[in-house]
C-alpha cells in the first residue's frame, strides 16, 4: 500500500493501463509533456512516447470525434476534457455518436474502448466556467456509463474498470479533492465494479446518498446527526448510469427515509430520477418525503459559492427535517 492523493491514484491507474496494453492511448489539451493542467497524466509521455500520450489542439469536439474514431478502430482511447464545463462543444460527439455507435450499427461497430476523463465540481473558487457538475445531461443518454469516484482508492479501481469496460464511459473527477483527498492505495492492479453502489456505513433511521466530492459532506452531516441519536446509512452511488437501483431501494426499505445530495442544480438533477424510482419501489415504506439537497437553479457563482453549495450543514438540516416529519 502507498499513500496517494486522488490525482496520483488516477495517474497510477493510467500508468498501469498503458503498461499492460499498448492499445491504451491518452490525449487531450496539455496532457503531453506538461502532464495536464492538474498533472493527472504526468510522466506518461516520457514513459510511453508521444504516439501514445499527446497534446491535442484546443478543440473539444475534435478530441472526442477523434477518440470515437480511434475507439471504433479498436484502440482504447482515454481522452481528457480539461474541465467538465468545456465538455459541451463535444456534446454532439458524445451524445449522438459515442452513446449510439453500437446501437445504431446493430453491434457491427462500437466505441466501447472510449473513456472520457474530466474534472468536475465546485469548491475551488472557479466561478461558473470551472465548477459545473454536468452529469445529469449525460445521464439522459442511454449507451453511456457515468462514473464518479470519491477518493483515491475508488478513483484508481473505478478508472481501471472504466478503461477496460466494453462501453464508453464518462469519468467525472472531483477536482476539489484532487489533492486534498489522500489515502492508502494498493500499488498493484485492481478493479472496482461499475454499476454498483457501495454502502459505506450501515444505519437504521435514514439513508444518505451522494457521489464524488459530495460524499465528504454526507459523512460530516452523518456524524452530526449520529450525535443527535440518528442512525444513518451512507451510500456512495459511484456509477450514475446505469445506476444501482437495488442497493438504494433495499436500504430505503430498511430505513424508510432518503436524502440525496448533489452539487448540480435541483431542477432536472439526477436526484430527481432517483427520487422518482425509489418512490415507485418503496412507496409504502417511506416515513417522509425523499429530500434533495442540491445546488440552486442558478449558474455556478464565484464569491458566494459556499452559500450555493449543498454542504454538510444543509444536509444535516435535511436529515433532521426528514426524521422529524
Amino acid at each position: 500500500m502507498a499513500k496517494m492523493n486522488l490525482l496520483q491514484a488516477i495517474n497510477n491507474a493510467l500508468d498501469i493501463a498503458m503498461a499492460e496494453n499498448e492499445k491504451v492511448i491518452c490525449f487531450g489539451e496539455d496532457v503531453g509533456v506538461f502532464g495536464g493542467v492538474f498533472r493527472a497524466t504526468s510522466h506518461l509521455q516520457e514513459k510511453y512516447g508521444r504516439a501514445r500520450c499527446f497534446n491535442t489542439p484546443l478543440v473539444e469536439q475534435g478530441i472526442i470525434g477523434f477518440a470515437n474514431g480511434l475507439a471504433a478502430q479498436g484502440h482504447m482511447a482515454v481522452a481528457e476534457i480539461q474541465f467538465a464545463d468545456y465538455i459541451f462543444p463535444a456534446f454532439d460527439q458524445i451524445v449522438n455518436e459515442s452513446a449510439k455507435y453500437r446501437y445504431r450499427s446493430g453491434n457491427l461497430f462500437d466505441v466501447g474502448g472510449l473513456t472520457i476523463r474530466t474534472p468536475y465540481g465546485g469548491g475551488i473558487s472557479g466561478g461558473h466556467y470551472h465548477s459545473q457538475s454536468p452529469e445529469a445531461y449525460f445521464a439522459h443518454t442511454p449507451g453511456l456509463k457515468i462514473v464518479v469516484p470519491r477518493n483515491p482508492y475508488q478513483a484508481k479501481g473505478l478508472l481501471l474498470s472504466s478503461i477496460r469496460d466494453a462501453n464508453p464511459v464518462v469519468f467525472f473527477e472531483p477536482k476539489r479533492i484532487y489533492r486534498a483527498s489522500v489515502g492508502e492505495v494498493p500499488e498493484e492492479d485492481y478493479e472496482l465494479p461499475l454499476g454498483k453502489a457501495e454502502v459505506l456505513k450501515e444505519g437504521s433511521d435514514i439513508t444518505l446518498l451522494a457521489w464524488g466530492a459530495q460524499m465528504e459532506y454526507i459523512e460530516k452531516a452523518a456524524e452530526m446527526a449520529e450525535k443527535d441519536g440518528i442512525s444513518c446509512e451512507i451510500i456512495d452511488l459511484r456509477t450514475i448510469l446505469p445506476w444501482d437501483v437495488d442497493t438504494v431501494a433495499n436500504s430505503v426499505l430498511k430505513t424508510g427515509r432518503l436524502v440525496i445530495s448533489h452539487e448540480a442544480p435541483l431542477t432536472g438533477g439526477f436526484a430527481g430520477e432517483i427520487a422518482a424510482t425509489i418512490q415507485e419501489r418503496c412507496f409504502l415504506y417511506l416515513e417522509s418525503p425523499i429530500a434533495r439537497v442540491t445546488g440552486l437553479d442558478t449558474p455556478f457563482p464565484l464569491v458566494l459559492e459556499k452559500e450555493y453549495l449543498p454542504d454538510h450543514l444543509k444536509i444535516y438540516e435535511a436529515i433532521k427535517q426528514s426524521v422529524n416529519f
Binding site: G69, L70, D92, R104
Partner: protein
C-alpha cells in the same frame, strides 16, 4: 513546440492578402464524348475493372430510380438518391484497397456497392427487416458493413470527419499501410467538426483522405450561400495540407486523384483533401422538391455532363461496351432490384427484444425490466402492435 522562426518578408505598409485570389485548378481527363484531353494520362485499367466501375454506377442509378418510385408508392418511408454523383463515389472507391475504411455521409451507395454489398443487403436495410445489420434502428440509407470496412452511417452531419482522423491514427499506430477515406458534402464542410478534423489530422499526421462532394446544394442552400471562398479545397492550405480539385463527373479523374492521394496518405502519413466538383441532379431526399429553389435549365446544363454517359462513351470508344450490352444490363438490373425489393418487403421486422440489445454490451437490469413490462402490454393489446404480437419469446 513553439512557432518555428523562418526568414520572412517584412513589409512597411499595411498590405492585406486577399483570401480568394488563389484559384484552384480542376483536374480532368475525360471529355463528355469519351475522348481524352490532350496531355491527360488515363489510368492503367483493364476492361474487367473498367466494366466493374461502370456496372456499379449503373446499378446505383437503377437502385435510386426504383427506390424513389417505391417511396412515392408508400412502400418505403424515405430515400436519398446519388444521381449525378456516381462518378465521384464509384471513382474514389475503385482506387482504394478494400481494407481501407470508408466513413461516408449518406450519398455514397456506389462505394458500398463497389465493395460487394449485395442488392439483398441494400434492401434489408432500406426496409429495416430482421436481416438488416442495423436491426431496423435507423432510417433507410444508413448502411454499414464491418465485413466491407464501411462504417455505419450516422445522420448528424460531419460527425464522421473527426472520427475518420481518429480511425486513421489507429491504423497508423498499427502500421498496416491502410488509410481511411471520409466523405461529406460542401454543406457539411461548414460544421465545426470539419475544421476540427482537418486540424487534428494535420497536426497528428494521419493517413486520412477527406473527400468533399461539392454538389452545389445543401438541401436548398446553394453553395454561394454556403461559403465565400473558392470552394472547399483552399481550406486545406490553412491546415498545411495538400489538396486537389477534381471534376467529380469524370470517374477516371476521381480515380486517379484518389490513387495519388492514397499514396501520400499511406506512404507519408499525411492527410489529403480532395474536392470533387459535381452536381446533385436529384432532390436532396425524397422529402425535398428542388423545383422550389432552382431552375430546370440549370439542371439541364448538368444533365449534359452526366458521369455515367461520359464513362459509357469512353467504354464504347474503346469497344469494351455496346448499346446492346447496355440494354441488357439495364433490364437485368431493374429486374434484380425489383425481385430483391419484393423479397425484403415480405421479411418480418426485427423482434421486439432487439429494442433493448446493443445499448450496452450487455442488457442492463433496468432494460430487462422495461422490456418485460412492454411485452406484457403487447400481449394485452396484440392488435395494436401487429409487428411484435405473436412473435415474442416467453419469459
Amino acid at each position: 513546440m513553439s512557432q518555428t522562426t523562418k526568414t520572412i518578408e517584412v513589409i512597411h505598409k499595411p498590405e492585406f492578402i486577399q483570401g480568394n485570389e488563389f484559384k484552384f485548378p480542376i483536374f480532368q481527363v475525360l471529355k463528355q464524348d469519351g475522348a481524352t484531353y490532350k496531355g491527360a494520362k488515363l489510368p492503367e485499367m483493364d476492361q474487367e475493372e473498367a466494366l466493374k466501375i461502370y456496372r456499379t454506377m449503373v446499378f446505383t442509378r437503377v437502385l435510386d430510380e426504383r427506390m424513389l418510385a417505391a417511396q412515392r408508392q408508400g412502400r418505403l418511408s424515405f430515400y436519398l438518391q446519388s444521381t449525378g454523383e456516381e462518378g465521384t463515389v464509384v471513382g474514389f472507391a475503385a482506387a482504394l484497397d478494400d481494407r481501407d475504411m470508408i466513413m461516408a455521409q449518406y450519398r455514397e451507395q456506389g462505394a458500398l456497392a463497389y465493395r460487394g454489398f449485395s442488392v439483398d443487403e441494400f434492401m434489408n436495410q432500406l426496409f429495416g427487416n430482421e436481416l438488416d445489420y442495423g436491426k431496423g434502428r435507423q432510417m433507410p440509407i444508413h448502411y454499414g458493413s464491418a465485413k466491407l470496412n464501411y462504417m455505419t452511417i450516422s445522420s448528424p452531419l460531419a460527425t464522421q470527419i473527426p472520427q475518420a482522423a481518429g480511425y486513421a491514427y489507429g491504423q497508423k499506430l498499427e502500421g498496416k499501410g491502410l488509410c481511411t477515406v471520409t466523405v461529406f458534402g460542401e454543406g457539411a464542410a461548414s460544421e465545426g467538426d470539419f475544421h476540427a478534423a482537418l486540424n487534428m489530422a494535420s497536426v497528428h499526421k494521419v493517413p486520412v483522405i477527406f473527400l468533399c462532394r461539392n454538389n452545389g446544394y445543401a438541401i436548398s442552400t446553394p453553395s454561394s450561400e454556403q461559403f465565400a471562398a473558392d470552394g472547399i479545397a483552399p481550406r486545406a492550405l490553412g491546415y498545411s495540407m495538400r489538396a486537389i480539385r477534381v471534376d467529380g463527373n469524370d470517374v477516371l479523374a476521381v480515380y486517379l486523384a484518389t490513387l495519388a492521394a492514397r499514396k501520400i496518405a499511406v506512404e507519408e502519413n499525411e492527410p489529403v483533401l480532395i474536392e470533387a466538383m459535381t452536381y446533385r441532379l436529384a432532390a436532396h431526399s425524397s422529402s425535398d422538391d428542388p423545383s422550389g429553389y432552382r431552375s430546370k435549365k440549370e439542371e439541364d446544363v448538368w444533365r449534359a455532363k452526366d458521369p455515367i454517359a461520359r464513362m459509357r462513351n469512353w467504354l464504347i470508344k474503346k469497344k469494351w461496351w455496346s448499346e446492346d450490352e447496355e440494354k441488357q444490363l439495364q433490364d437485368s438490373m431493374r429486374q434484380e432490384v425489383l425481385d430483391a425489393m419484393k423479397k425484403a418487403e415480405k421479411r418480418p421486422p426485427p423482434p421486439v427484444e432487439s429494442l433493448v440489445t446493443d445499448v450496452y454490451d450487455e442488457v442492463t437490469p433496468q432494460l430487462h425490466e422495461q422490456l418485460e413490462k412492454l411485452k406484457m402490454h403487447v400481449r394485452k393489446y396484440p392488435d395494436a402492435y401487429p409487428k411484435s404480437a405473436g412473435r415474442m419469446t416467453h419469459g
